[in-house]
Symmetry: C2
Subunit: 663 residues, 2 copies
């Protein structure tokens, strides 16, 4: 039985359309102004020639735009388009047998051996006849003129040139016969975010620790005073841990003890008390007016405020009594607290996403996001998204981004790789990573290669954090200030998104809990009095790095990261560049925080278009020092006591222009 | 807006289900009795435990069968099923949060540190309560007994053992709560063929050359007399070039000349004359009765007859006048012959698959296949399928196999790789390959690796031909009989499907057309008188190889092909084995047809379960010689003048049994 829905005369097929995520089940990601280079295998039976094009449109638009594709090799074609509006785009590939091109190329072969016949021209003329009604108005008179030569000319040369020439070729190309074209299936999607989605520098701090006095609870007003300093360091996102009322029931004491004393402030992630829940502000931090002023102050300082979305409750959160159906009620009638046996988290009750009332729960959680959007927030750092269902996030993020495509969600999922990747695939704009635990040359190289190749690079935007209030990795516990510096350089130059848990990082706080990768006396459970006069060395470096990042487009994307050879396993050498090679940053890091390491590196001169023997200029953006080098091979020594890294800007001003096509 | 069609409480997701072809757009292939080992990433949010199962059914059946999957690593699960009926099967994966397992494992952790509480048992009992209605009848009394212990026992040990023990675990596993399970999407398909689809030895010959007299046209009766010899050599498929009437108009003469003389017989691929078309038999070959007798004689000799499907016409084929609408009519009213400028094939007119009457054309071509199926044919070698549309083949093959799932289609597409792969994907049972042009160690290793890894191995079944009537490769033109032998051994041991263009191969015919890979005076255009007394050496080797293939299951599939080390680039060392290691064949080939080559090879002793220092027995299946070796490293010399290859059967009878899981 023949399927009447399909026209059996369509002879082209299209396979293997890239980029895509899970064969098109999820959108890929781009930021405004970025290119989507589309690849596809297009072919048909027999020796006929094809034409192919990329089709694309903003989702919701009824009209497809087209860009022609070019044949590359081995039945692979390439084309592309640029995304210029926030939101969602759709794209695909169309290809069709191009009888005019097939005929034209056959005519050429015959012409070359002087064997064209009247029948050959007749065949072509019948193609022109059928094309007539498709010819663009602007092309019609030229078309008629050429057709007339092909029809009537007795001058074989003129006739062939009219038939084969570029003019007719382009007229016909503008009026393709796509009646029997094949369209790739499924149509693919791309989420277009604003630039900050792929280039951002985050600074995390606790507003309550902004008074310089550990017994006085800081407010948003106190925190606002700290903003100019953060801005001066070159950050663009300030991320605050949850600012909601903190539960009093089962509140944790200092250093994560189970009993809180009267003045213990508790963990901001244990949300909700008689003072309110996720749509309230902890009274000690201030009012909504204070919050709005804080947002405004941040904006004035070129900073954007990121809030924390922690969808969980303290036992005295108003939801718990108002909506017991959103929680697990134990056989004895009590509400189930969080548990991962044998560990118990009595100060937290998780939502039960298997509740029969899941729709109401989803809507309420969405209303929390919309509430803070209404207050001016456009960036959310999402706490433990891997403990809530994937379907929920997919729905929530698409709901929010439909109306607010500028919103950025950072996934704080430190968990198994496939879970982390799924969260990125289903819509999270940025993701925490394993960077925090990747220290050796092999580990870093392998992990970065994973992040910047294959499908992952199309949807997973890493955000590198050397530390967080939850995590003080071993290397920062034992490596001293030099370790902070090397981890900072790695984060800021390997990943276009990075962040630090600021005050503790600046002051190189290294005291961990015995045998754990956690801070001893974590700021999560108490108010700190940070000594603002300390940490100058790190602050200066942060400032230099953020300046380098702002001034060098190469560092604002991970698309062109490459690792290069250096003959010392304690040293890492890598580069980032722009597609057009107009900006090239080459970084060398000594991974050993204790000793001077020396290595011979090989500059990728060929890759950046410098000829052997040409001299080139390097400027170390951390020190301002300049170097003129003449050879690909060069020795470099990095002393962690001074600065265990060099971030070179390669200046090619004296050299010829080279353009490399993007892949 | 919440999508009401989906239950938001489903927390599991499934990704990356394998095997599949193009994300499930095409079926994979198996033969009767083969396993489909299914892999999938299954995971959910949080730390809850999962269960997963493979679901499968014969297409058309309304009931899914299930097989449990096991967790492997990194969220990857494995399960599988065996296909036991011809036709099409469907399969997928289901996974769900297993609250009983989660609870049980938490209970264990608490029990281990003596911290179980009444509330823990209460939580489990409420799970048992809800499971009650699902418990299988045979399990009910045991279930009640265990539940009663968990409920009432005051003996903590007995209580824990009842709750945690294997008995309750298995009862619950047999009655899973799949209410909120996730089913992978899309459902995948597997085409199940008979064994011959993956294991066959083909012998091609022209019936008209079976009289021993070049001026007497052989008939099917003459050809039948040749069958016992083919059978004695151990082949199982005899493939005949087209047996239809040959066009007289524009018939080709001897050696592919454009003028035929009176007695020239023409090419069997120029089908159709006044004597009939694709549903007729060339009168000189005999009648339909002769054909039926030929089929019966073949069957008696353990041989199956493969016919050629060449969907093209001679200019005097009855279709041309009866259905001009199926061809391209040129402006002057003549029918367009085949052409690939500047080449012209005036003796052939191709069908026009872009005709408005494509449906009638498709149906007619299908009726040709059904016609010969009705005459007892179940194997078709399809001529140049890449010159007809993919959609047509996909439709034709699925139409035919719906009613005749035992039919085998061999794709004779010597063309670009993606086109060849597409034909295999859309349904061709077996495929011609590039083997004919892969000679060096690197070429063969790379090509075999491509064929036996990735998705290709799931749907592309190679059929290796050292020669065909169309192709006499360079190595056979210059390498003498030794080259025929080495190519034969490679074809028969690398690929479980192989074939030879028989008489020319046995007699090592090496005369090619100047500068071409074609036979000089090809049998395609004239009657040959083969000297049946010649070619003994090759015939003996063919017989030994086919015997080895029949007696050794390892050679009947390509699933476990591996290349091993030998320190001479002119020598190739590889092995095939069964999944259970019960049959292991190790082949060494000297790729140089002129000189003795000597190499030190490393037997894969570890892989086949032989301990260092153990002795093992090898039998060369080509010579019958036996060897006892004691070391992994051994020197071997192969003299092409004697036999440039050794096909060792490794006998492990004295060694311990080892089972390796398949993947």
């Amino acid at each position: 039985m023949i399927d009447k829905r399909q026209d059996g005369r369509v002879r082209v097929v299209i396979e293997n359309v890239r980029p895509c995520a899970d064969a098109g089940a999820f959108p890929i990601k781009r930021v405004l102004g970025e290119a989507v280079t589309v690849w596809a295998d297009c072919f048909c039976d027999s020796h006929d020639m094809l034409s192919a094009r990329v089709i694309y449109r903003r989702s919701g638009s009824s009209k497809w735009e087209c860009e022609p594709m070019e044949f590359v090799d081995n039945d692979r074609w390439r084309g592309g388009f640029t995304v210029s509006e926030l939101g969602c785009y759709e794209y695909g590939v169309e290809a069709w047998v191009d009888h005019f091109q097939t005929w034209r190329s056959g005519l050429k072969k015959k012409h070359d051996i002087d064997s064209t016949e009247e029948a050959d021209y007749a065949a072509g003329l019948s193609l022109l006849e059928r094309a007539h009604s498709r010819i663009l108005a602007k092309d019609l008179s030229a078309f008629e003129r050429l057709r007339s030569i092909v029809t009537f000319s007795s001058d074989e040369t003129a006739r062939f040139e009219a038939a084969y020439g570029d003019e007719l070729f382009h007229i016909m190309r503008r009026a393709p016969n796509t009646g029997l074209c094949f369209r790739s299936d499924p149509i693919l999607h791309v989420t277009v975010d604003r630039k900050r989605a792929s280039f951002s520098s985050w600074y995390e701090f606790f507003p309550r620790s902004c008074t310089g006095n550990p017994s006085r609870h800081g407010s948003l007003r106190d925190a606002a005073e700290y903003l100019p300093k953060i801005s001066a360091m070159g950050f663009d996102v300030v991320y605050l841990p949850p600012i909601h009322p903190i539960g009093e029931k089962k509140r944790k004491g200092k250093n994560n003890t189970t009993e809180a004393h009267t003045n213990d402030v508790g963990s901001p992630w244990a949300i909700g008390s008689a003072a309110g829940g996720h749509k309230s502000i902890e009274p000690a931090l201030g009012s909504f007016q204070d919050f709005e002023r804080f947002i405004a102050a941040a904006e004035k300082n070129g900073l954007e405020v990121a809030l924390d979305l922690a969808f969980q409750c303290a036992p005295d959160h108003p939801y718990v009594s108002a909506h017991p159906e959103w929680f697990v009620v134990r056989p004895d009638g009590s509400i189930q607290f969080a548990e991962n046996p044998p560990k118990k988290y009595e100060d937290i009750v998780p939502f039960n996403f298997e509740t029969g009332e899941w729709e109401a729960l989803w809507e309420e959680l969405k209303s929390i996001v919309l509430f803070w959007i209404d207050k001016g927030v456009r960036i959310f750092r999402v706490d433990n998204p891997h403990t809530k269902p994937f379907a929920f996030w997919q729905w929530l993020i698409s709901e929010v981004k439909r109306d607010y495509p500028e919103v950025i969600f950072l996934s704080e999922a430190f968990t198994r790789p496939k879970v982390m990747n799924r969260l990125a695939k289903l819509g999270f704009t940025q993701s925490y990573t394993y960077f925090t635990w990747r220290n050796s040359k092999a580990e870093i190289t392998r992990y970065m290669t994973e992040l910047t190749s294959g499908e992952l690079k199309e949807y997973f935007r890493p955000n590198f954090w050397p530390n967080t209030p939850d995590i003080l990795p071993q290397i920062l516990q034992f490596g001293g200030e030099s370790a902070f510096i090397l981890r900072l350089v790695l984060a800021a130059t390997l990943s276009s998104n990075y962040g630090i848990y600021g005050p503790a990082f600046e002051q190189a706080v290294s005291a961990g809990k015995e045998g754990k990768e956690e801070y001893d006396h974590s700021e999560k459970y108490e108010i700190y009095a940070w000594d603002r006069s300390k940490g100058e060395r790190i602050t200066a470096l942060v400032t230099a790095l953020n300046k380098a990042r702002r001034e060098n487009t190469a560092l604002q994307s991970n698309r062109f990261l490459e690792f290069y050879h250096i003959d010392n396993d304690y040293m890492l050498f890598y580069g980032k560049r722009t597609a057009d090679l107009s900006n090239i940053i080459l970084t060398v890091v000594n991974l050993d925080p204790f000793h001077v390491q020396k290595g011979r590196l090989k500059m990728p001169l060929y890759e950046v278009g410098i000829e052997a023997g040409e001299s080139y200029l390097l400027e170390d953006l951390l020190t301002g020092c300049r170097y003129v080098w003449h050879e690909a091979q060069n020795e470099i020594a990095l002393d962690p006591a001074v600065c265990g890294a060099a971030v070179f800007k390669l200046d090619r001003r004296l050299n010829r222009e080279v353009n490399f096509d993007y892949y």
